[in-house]
Symmetry: C2
Subunit: 247 residues, 2 copies
DNA sequence: ACAAAAGTGTTGATCCTACACCCATGG
DNA sequence: CCATGGGTGTAGGATCAACACTTTTGT
């Protein structure tokens, strides 16, 4: 990373959501020389848009492109940043001593959240300051650097609100999925439980799902149908806005 | 303004909304040495929170404190800032030549919108780079610097969405107001027209208005009643969230 | 008296909620 | 054949949209 030619004072943090085993998960990096974890993040090159750089961070960690990514909040507390997570990295020569000055700035950070299909992230890639990267279920997030707990919590609320305007299943589930899977996703995001019959009726009434005719076999119960999003109808609907009315 | 001890690369722009004569208006500053106008804005001192600085800008221009103020978007395009509006100011010694370097940075800007009672802003105060400050109705915004048109448009959409979660009349209208005035505010923000009887029923059903018993006289028609927000019920309602369901 | 705008209620349509039984699959 | 979870319909209540006449005020 070249620390000149970066926009000073501003960083990006990405809350990358996936859904697996009926849990929302976020991609976290374990800092080297420390027991603390962090959100994937980075800085803004002077010749790039902030949105581009957020997409770039997402791509670098997941290999994915064209992902739903949305800016949700600027975290600008005067005392939010410090160098306590950087110092061990410099001591151990993970980062050059010359980079201390960069990290010793006051940073505001702009939070983005991304919605990705869990299974499409087969090999997430850690950065040079981390020794691993992993999906963590939201209920058991480990200790995080700086205000990253707060950033995740904020993203979670933003996602909950997004659900009223966008059928997020399109972004978080695989191409084909069952109605109970979709419902479980909604219940997890909304932190509530929903009536099976009413949920199905409501979702189908949006007119954006297609029944593939296929069924998911393999479990000791009636095989649920597999659905896909009808790309054409979906695009139309997003275009003119939803009014899904959960929440 | 001391240009050292500011957070570099990041500025604040405030879209200050007022409501007067059935129009939404925003406070704009006319740049000296130019026909263009700008949003009230500023920079972030290193020892202040970004939110604090936004409130400070609002206070400096309007004299008001404790105003509803909300961050709504970071504008981060690589090419959004330039110095074309600064150069004439330096040529005419409105700004010192030494400040050019500061303004010649790339800036991202964080947009805030504020909701104020129009009549409470009796003497808005221009800054040193402007020769006047005025309320402009949204339909006839003059030519603006940089991407300020886009910022206003974004704020307007954010306000429209806010209407579903917060009864913004509390912030935009005087203490006592009539039902038709409140309706007109809603119609303006939503850019639609609403049925009088249904509107009244819906608003009253929120249980946050009190009839003062007084009436507004002076017009050649039946005198409308004056209402106030019931502070206690209002606070309770904001606390546990609305579901106003306009939009 | 007249013009202008405020106040008021009902009806039908739609949407939401609550709820229980049968069916397909794997073991 | 049994356990598990998926699929399905209806009725009552709440909410929403549409709609017109009467009242009050100033001129």
């Amino acid at each position: 990373m070249l620390l000149h030619n970066l926009l000073p004072g501003l960083s990006i943090d990405c809350v990358i959501f996936g859904f697996h085993q009926n849990e929302l998960r976020v991609l976290l990096l374990k800092m080297k020389q420390s027991e603390r974890w962090s959100l994937p993040g980075g800085f803004i090159r002077l010749d790039r848009d902030v949105d581009e750089e957020a997409a770039h961070i997402l791509h670098t960690r997941t290999g994915l492109d064209n992902i739903f990514l949305k800016q949700f909040h600027l975290f600008g507390k005067q005392n939010r940043s410090n160098t306590s997570h950087i110092e061990p990295l410099i001591e151990q020569n993970v980062l050059p001593a010359s980079s201390f000055q960069w990290f010793d700035q006051r940073f505001a950070t702009i939070g983005y959240y991304a919605l990705v299909e869990y299974a499409s992230v087969t090999q997430p890639i850690a950065d040079t300051t981390s020794d691993c990267i992993a999906w963590c279920p939201l209920p058991d997030i480990p200790s995080l650097i700086l205000d990253h707990h707060q950033i995740i919590e904020h993203a979670r609320v933003a996602l909950k609100e997004e659900l009223n305007f966008r059928p997020v299943g399109r972004n978080l589930l695989p191409d084909e999925f069952t109605m109970p899977e979709l419902q479980s996703l909604y219940e997890t995001i909304l932190e509530t439980s929903l009536d099976r019959r009413n949920f199905r009726r409501k979702i189908l009434s949006l007119g954006i799902l297609k029944d593939t005719g296929k069924k998911r076999l393999g479990a000791a119960n009636k095989a649920p149908s597999l659905y896909t999003f009808d790309e054409v109808k979906y695009a139309e609907a997003v275009e003119k806005g939803f009014k899904s009315g959960f929440l």
